[in-house]
Amino acid sequence: MWIWYKVLYALIVVIGGLAYGLLLGGISRKITARLQGRRGPSVFQNYIDLIKLIRKRTAISHGVMFFLAPMFRLLGGIGVLLLVPIIANNTALSNFSFGGDLIVVLYFMVFGCLGMALGAADSGHPHSALAPTRGLAQMAGYELPFLLSVIGLAIAHNTVSLSNLVAAQQGGILHWNLFQYPFLSIAGLIAMLGMYMAYPFSVVMAPQEIAVGPPTEYSSTFLSFMFTGRSIFGVGKYVLFMDLFLGGATNLVEAFVKTFVLFLFVVFISNVFPRYRTEQAVRFFWTYPLVIGLIDFIRIFIK
Amino acid sequence: MAEILQYFMLFLIVLMLALALFAVKTKDLLSAVIASGFISLVASIVYLYLQAPDVAMTEAAIGAGITTLVFVITVRKTKGKEK
């Protein structure tokens, strides 16, 4: 019986996550527009778009992998969201988070991206490789500081379970990893910017250069799936970072607030900086955040 | 008598060494060959003094005779002069 409850909760989390993710996307567009002095679309524009896409009647397919790619994407998104505990030790909202989950999450995050890249390439679009390769290269960039902070935290707390990490950060704001291990956190948060492919690390999605990126060839239902996957994935990552650095959450409100703060952090940063080229981004990640993170890392190593 | 013989031997030895040096130093191959033949000849006399008549005979016949002959023929055939 237990498993069915879990499935039920999972469905709720996924739908909730989707709704939240779409909302965040809308807010992001709004903020950007406002900063640029435009009115911008409605914050609910993404909901409208999604419904529109689903309702479209025809879709084209270039082949099996093209067909499967959105599935992978969606699966990756859902997987990440479900593997991180939104509220630790809560039957409903701890999701499928379990003992070894940090490493699993790290690897599962790639799953969707891989599917995405494969699908795009299968379209036969000559530029299809551009975005995935940039993305992978940039990933190699930001993953280094990110792994640094994750490993640092795991060693520091002697656990790779996100739930345990969250538990270790309870008992006041100063117990948060953000304050316990500020340098690691800085490295991790900078990596997060890369992970969201926001400015200045947006060369992957760069619409001006690659028409509209991987989704160029996708439309209607396929695109809707991608859209869904991306939104959910985004939320999943916010939750992950919340759990890692901001002490997790004990109730839903706290979760909303913390993820929203993270979201704002990304949005504001991205509206300030110009874009890096891939190699610049990689070099950036391999220097400043890494060096900063190493301070704490070595501290943990010595301890 | 014995003393004279000894001095004679000494003389022969010096002669041999001188001939050897001459054979090595001279530019004319034929002279060198003849000199080396002479060394053998002188040596055979020395052998006699050293109570080795057999060897003396052999040295004279083969060392001084045949060897020199072979040398001479070779020098003639190679029209040899040392540079």
Binding site: - | M9, L10, I13, M16, L17, A20, L21, A23, V24, L29, A32, V33, S36, I39, S40, A43, V46, Y47, L50, Q51, A52, P53, D54, V55, T58, E59, I62, G63, I66, T67, V70, F71, I73, T74, V75, K77, T78, G80, E82, K83
Partner: protein, 121 residues
């Protein structure tokens, strides 16, 4: 002693020729001088002062009443026998060497070492 020294000198003069001279025939002359030196050295090794050659043609070399020869009256015959062989071998080698030289001359019209340095490294 003089014989030793002289023989050694002969050997080394011969060797010197083999080491320094650039003419093939000269080198062989050197070797044959060296041979002579060696032979003389060996003979002088077998020499014993005041003894006679090892040819027993007189009765008084025998020990009394037998065919056993009195050792103290004869020089060492063995080195002489060895030298006999050595001399013959020497002439054989010289003849071989000289025939090679004749052939070398017919190939290159030269008997200088400088023309025979193709095999190297």
């Amino acid at each position: 002693m003089v014989f030793f020294a002289a023989s050694l000198l002969l050997i080394f003069i011969g060797l010197y020729a083999a080491l320094v001279k650039r003419n093939l025939i000269k080198i062989i002359i050197g070797l044959s001088i060296m041979d002579t030196g060696v032979n003389m050295l060996i003979i002088s090794l077998g020499f014993v002062k005041g003894r006679t050659a090892p040819i027993i043609s007189l009765k008084d070399l025998f020990k009394k009443g037998s065919l056993l020869v009195d050792v103290s009256k004869v020089v060492d015959p063995l080195p002489q026998a060895l030298v006999l062989t050595a001399i013959v071998i020497g002439v054989a080698v010289t003849a071989m060497a000289l025939s090679v030289v004749i052939r070398m001359y017919s190939v290159k019209k030269s008997i200088e070492i400088d023309d025979f340095k193709e095999l190297k490294w």
